[in-house]
């Protein structure tokens, strides 16, 4: 195979941290050689050249499943050639700027501006400035309105694309929902656009964007205008544009293509393992969890398909660990069968199974005994709140009896490491709820020694880690209207917890406040933030997802200069006002979210989809859990 060296001198590469990030050459990476030959001969190609851009460093991007899935889908298509690009770290950023070298793709080292389309995945709000960095380093005008026929189309997808308003000035297109089908439909339009350039009637960029608007799930921000009276109302500019963008989903995951030969990094990355996606969606409906609502309804893959995909993944990657991926692994209907099956496939290969988000019971403990990788990391629980009252408010369906009976079994089995995850600042939270966290941790400590006494065994040192993250009200959740606690209030609660949880067995790990404060601004923000982000980026702020490189005070100052305050985004939103994301439909109705919010304040829980359908509206997709065992209540679903 022909190799494509990076456009950098050896001394430049040797001067940066982890130069292997910038050189490509990974196993299973795809280069369409016929396209490269065509380009070399004629300077042109009929292929749609797609750069999949991940706005963070290589090691994080390469652990991203969306990247692997869409890379595979695009390259499988006969008329698209997809390559990858990542955010260069500060050291490399500096070299590229100083030497005027354009940010390039991993595969053929093509400058980003030479692609037909750039697709950014927006996994977290704090990566927004890195989108600007990558476009800037690729010599692409940052503002959509400044780009012309010669510039690539800039699009995005991923969970943050559902409220892309803060980034609306920069993107030509946002894709709502699961991308496997939509992204190819989009590429077809770009293919037509590209082909039309050689005809007498070349399509304009504006025409192309109109054409793209016809694709369900695709949002073209420039075709909408915003007015701000009592909220941010986003409306189409004319009748030719769809008023509501409905997210796309894949109906049948079994027949949908899945990357069983993903690109394997040469460099060891954040999660050095292959991923087997088991199902999409979540039956639970925890009221703070965006993923739980935006990915509805639950759709599972069949055991046979999963076992075959697992077998191929192991063989094609060589990874010695495979992660089962979903929002709650134990909720998979055939979980025991799948786990046993995979373990027997891996028999004698020294491949371990990693089982995140496992609900602990006697079955899963038994399973974890067999799976080494879990043994090392200890037991994990996410009660999220310290008291049953607050757990009812957030609809976190985990009962203390269950935690304690699972822990008793685990402690008897010799486990001695426990991790507990909580959130601070949840709606209706009182000091009693905060102290409930400390109380829970202490009672677990006591249980450990009780088990020791009862069994008469010598026990190892117990390690309990309590982690708290901060509640962030996210769009498309029942808590989307809720206020965020002020920073001062959160700090007070954190100290309250810390002071009441002192023990040599308990370690308290907390999350940085500053980034959560800013995250809420970006998550619930609107188009007025575009100029703020641009100014921040120009002032040298990016890699905001990295706590060491995030400066809240600078951002707050810029925000204030633009006539806004953090409180405008952290305040309680009124139920009457128009939300900046009201023109987007994830299938779950606003009416349902509102009723869930009211139930939360009444401390009432909602059963999981499997127990009882609550008619959230996602049944309108016509597939999955909503039609599993019982008829959906037609009157409740919109």
């Amino acid at each position: 195979m022909k190799s494509y060296p990076a456009p950098l001198s050896k001394s430049d590469l040797m001067s940066v941290e982890s130069p292997a990030r910038y050189v490509g050459g990974e196993f299973n990476a795809v280069i369409k050689e016929d396209m490269m030959e065509e380009l070399e001969k004629t300077g042109k190609t009929s292929y749609v050249r797609f750069a999949f851009c991940f706005p963070d460093i290589y090691e994080i991007g390469m652990s991203n499943l969306a990247l692997q899935i869409l890379y595979h889908v695009l390259n499988e298509s006969a008329f698209v050639a997809c390559e990858r690009a990542f955010s260069p770290w500060f050291d490399m950023d500096k070299i590229l700027r100083e030497k005027d070298i354009l940010l390039y793709s991993q595969e053929t080292k093509t400058p980003l501006c030479d692609f037909d389309i750039l697709g950014f995945t927006l996994g977290y709000e704090m990566c927004y400035t890195n989108v600007l960095q990558m476009m800037d380093l690729g010599k692409i005008p940052l503002l959509a309105k400044d780009r012309d026929e010669d510039d690539p189309i800039i699009c995005c997808g991923g969970p943050c694309a559902y409220n892309v308003e803060p980034m609306a000035d920069f993107f030509d297109i946002a894709m709502m929902g699961e991308g496997e089908e939509m992204i190819l439909e989009l590429c077809e339009k770009i293919h037509e656009y590209k082909q039309s350039k050689d005809t007498d009637h070349p399509m304009t960029r504006a025409e192309l964007l109109r054409n793209c608007d016809a694709i369900e799930g695709i949002y073209v921000p420039s075709l909408y205008e915003v007015s701000y009276h009592g909220g941010a109302l986003v409306r189409p500019v004319d009748d030719g544009v769809k008023p509501v963008i409905k997210k796309r989903i894949i109906s049948d995951l079994d027949t949908c293509t899945y990357p069983t030969a993903p690109v394997v990094s040469n460099l060891r990355v954040v999660h050095d393992r292959s991923y087997l996606e088991v199902f999409r969606g979540c039956i639970r409906g925890c009221r703070f969890c965006q993923a739980g609502f935006i990915y509805r309804p639950v759709r599972e893959k069949s055991v046979d398909v999963l076992c075959e995909q697992g077998r191929l993944l192991e063989k094609n990657t060589g990874y010695d660990e495979m992660g089962l991926l979903s929002l709650a692994t134990s909720d998979y209907t055939h979980f025991p069968e799948l786990a046993e099956n995979l373990l027997s496939t891996f028999e004698g290969h020294h491949t371990s199974l990693s089982l995140p988000s496992l609900r602990l019971d006697s079955f899963s403990l038994d399973l974890m005994e067999k799976v080494q990788s879990t043994r090392k990391s200890g037991l994990t629980f996410a009660p999220e709140a310290g008291t049953q009252r607050l757990r009812d408010v957030i609809n976190k369906n985990i009962k203390e009896e269950d935690i304690f009976s699972a822990l008793r079994l685990a402690f008897m089995g010799g486990w001695s490491t426990v991790k507990l995850y909580f959130m601070l600042g949840l709606p209706t939270e009182t000091d009693e709820d905060v102290l409930g966290i400390a109380d829970l941790a202490k009672r677990i400590e006591k249980l450990y020694y009780d088990v020791g006494r009862e069994t008469g065994r010598k026990m190892r040192k117990l390690e309990i880690t309590v982690s708290t993250s901060l509640f962030i009200p996210k769009p498309f959740t029942p808590f989307q209207w809720e206020p965020q606690n002020t920073k001062e209030e959160l700090i007070r609660k954190q100290h309250l917890l810390k002071d009441n949880m002192r023990s040599r067995n308990i370690r308290y790990a907390w999350h940085d406040f500053d980034s959560s404060v800013w995250e809420v601004v970006l998550a619930r923000g609107d188009r007025r933030l575009g100029p703020v982000l641009l100014e921040g980026y120009r002032a040298g702020h990016f890699f905001d997802a990295w706590d060491d490189h995030f400066h809240l005070s600078d951002w707050e100052e810029i925000l204030n200069r633009h006539g806004m305050t953090i409180d405008e985004f952290a305040r309680e939103f009124s139920e009457e006002e128009t939300l900046p994301w009201d023109h987007v439909s994830v299938g779950v109705s606003k009416k349902f979210l509102l009723s869930e919010r009211h139930k939360a304040h009444e401390e009432k829980t909602t059963p999981s989809c499997r127990e009882h359908c609550s008619g959230c509206g996602a049944a309108s997709f016509g597939v999955g859990e909503c039609f599993a065992k019982r008829e959906v209540k037609a009157d409740a679903a919109e």
Partner: protein, 251 residues
Amino acid sequence: MLQSEREKMMTLQPHQKAYVQRACFSREGATVYLGHLDLMTCFERAARRAELPILYSQGYNPRPMMVFALPLGVGIESRSDYLDVSLEVPYDPVLFTEEMNRCLPEGLQILRSKQIPEPKDSIMSIVTTATYRFEATGIREAMNDAMKRETLIVTKIAKGKEKQTDIRPLLLSIKKDGGEDPDAVEFFASAGSEKNVRPDLILSSLSLYCGMDKETADSARVIRTGLFSGKYPKILPIDETPIRKFEDFTN
């Protein structure tokens, strides 16, 4: 894990008969920028993809039993480095080479392999000498100059501390058959677990004492062209070195 720890773990395990492939490999292209640990992982994964019957170390965290003759630093190309791969069964070296090459990332290539009896001496312990080829403008003259000096004191960083060290005794000789190209030079240097000199330190001595500018020295292409056992100058390429068998040792 450090290579030394890995070694220790492997010798500690209850003995299981191993069929060792002693493979010679090259590295170029993108993989040149990998550190040694990443390089080892690449080989491990390739062997797993090739579904070779690899032996694993015992214990808590079993690893494929692969031992590299000498770590290959970031930025160094190689035309002949070596590794021993322990297999459960005898394996045709040609097939082994083909299977591995099918599964290695671009830039890494097994050049040849041979099946050897399980060696008593670890492949790491027999390395004494390496040959390197440097390519950069005017580097032959600078290197000739270096060889004429009594000492070449450079600063190396070991365990977070700066340390002054004389690398001159570790430079053995300039290779006679290395041609006359003024911009390339090939030489013998001490290598291995006893005495070893890192190529970047040689390059920094060339810019410190031998009139090369730093940028040119730092950008020099560095290729390890050979690894040898035995006492210099009576040395043998690693894969031509006679093997002391493991059994001879146990009996």
